[in-house]
Amino acid sequence: MIKLERLTKRFGDTTVLDGIDLEIQQGEIIVVIGPSGTGKSTLLRCLNFLEQPDGGRLTLGPLNLDLTQASKSEILAARRHTAFVFQNYALFANKTALENIAEGLIVVNRWPRAKAHQRAREILERIGMSDKANAYPASLSGGQQQRVGIGRAMAAQAEVILFDEPTSSLDPEWVDEVLALMKQLARERQTMLVVTHEMAFARDVADRVVFMEGGRIVEQGPPSELFHAPQDPRTRDFLRKVLPAAEPL
């Protein structure tokens, strides 16, 4: 279980996250939606310490941290219990698909190279990229790069995989294959926290949808409730804008 209490983050005078409380059960798939600039990505980045939070507590596996006073080794440990999928893939350009997936196992978990490559091959198989094991990122399509990015996150065997708008920089033709892989992970009950604008994915896959605005969680619930009977006017407003009137979810 992951428990986040009163997470706060400021950039200068602007409060981006204003006391976020969030609990994630093991195997739960949570999708975070909301307007741009509302702190959704920052929330994920704080969980991974890519941003330094200004307040709050985090319980994560064996860790229980005061987010403002986490030591270097606690930050490393927290990062090892979370995995991150980036909007722009962020693959290591000097490493092949296989090496991208094996890198963390070799360097961070100190596995022998052969064992790490073996695991990486299994993951390539699961993400349907076995034939591209030795391809470098520059020669892969956006969709393939993002699948490797997800594979790299899978290798970490983290408590939770954090997806930061994983399909937002993809050409439309590659979106489906990435969403399909994420659905596959969801079926395997991989714990996931997903920030996305793909409302159909939220409806079909999420156990719980969280609506954020202005650095706060406004409303949350199962997709059936949140999409069909939103309680808060802000949620209704947002959904009206993003859901095409012709095909309501």
Binding site: F49, R79, A83, A90, F92, N94, K95
Partner: protein, 224 residues
């Protein structure tokens, strides 16, 4: 009689080539030391280490802002007058010192640019899987920075080889100094200097060939 005394030129080549080890030796030593110094300066600049960053800016400004010949004269003829431990400095050491300081100033900036040029999101990706800063530098940033920096660094090395010819003004008999002596003995200045020019040119071309091979190897991962 032809314009060029070709026999003299052919005979001169082996004599001049015997000074090649000294020329290349000074360049290699200067390059190795300059690389180490430049990496240090670049890291100071990238991390903006207080005090050192300011000193580094002054260092780079001075050694880029003054001619190499002035710097060499300063080290060889000037400084020994005020710093007694330098009175025994020989021309070769002074040349290597001058080349090191002068070129490290240029190289620091191109190494800094190469480190900064590595896509920032890859740094975040490495941190996100729990790499330490050292692992991140060693495994992800520096290998890619090397690729970016190699072409310019090779150019500086080529420049440095040619710059070793200034050592003859400090009384060092290297390739250029030897040519000067030979020419003074034979009075065939044109032949002598054409010969040495061709030798420098050949060395540089050989290095340029090496550079192309090296770059093509480093670019393997980036081909589409």
């Amino acid at each position: 009689m032809s314009i060029l005394d070709l026999d003299y030129m052919v005979g001169l080549v082996p004599i001049l080539l015997s000074y090649l080890p000294l020329t290349l030796g000074m360049a290699l030593a200067g390059m190795a030391l300059a690389l180490v110094l430049a990496c240090g300066l670049a890291v100071i600049r990238v991390l903006k280490i207080p005090v050192l960053n300011g000193l580094t800016l002054w260092f780079i400004s001075f050694f880029r802002g003054t001619p190499l010949l002035v710097q060499l004269f300063l080290f060889y003829y000037g400084l020994p007058q005020v710093l007694s431990f330098l009175t025994t400095i020989d021309g070769i050491t002074a040349t290597i010192m001058g080349l090191t300081l002068h070129f490290s100033a240029y190289m620091a900036e191109s190494i800094r640019a190469a480190i900064v040029g590595v896509d920032r999101s890859q740094t975040e990706a490495a941190l996100s899987i729990g790499m330490t800063n050292g692992q991140l530098m060693r495994r992800i940033v520096l290998p890619q920075a090397t690729r970016i920096a190699v072409p310019t660094l090779m150019n500086y090395f080529i420049d440095m080889i040619k710059a070793t010819s200034l050592a003859f003004t400090l009384g060092v008999t290297e390739l250029m100094g030897a040519t000067q002596k030979e020419a003074a003995g034979s009075f065939l200045y044109f032949e002598a200097f054409i010969t040495v020019a061709l030798i420098y040119w050949a060395i540089v071309e050989a290095l340029a060939w090496l550079q192309r091979r090296l770059e093509s190897r480093l670019n393997e991962a980036y081909r589409r």
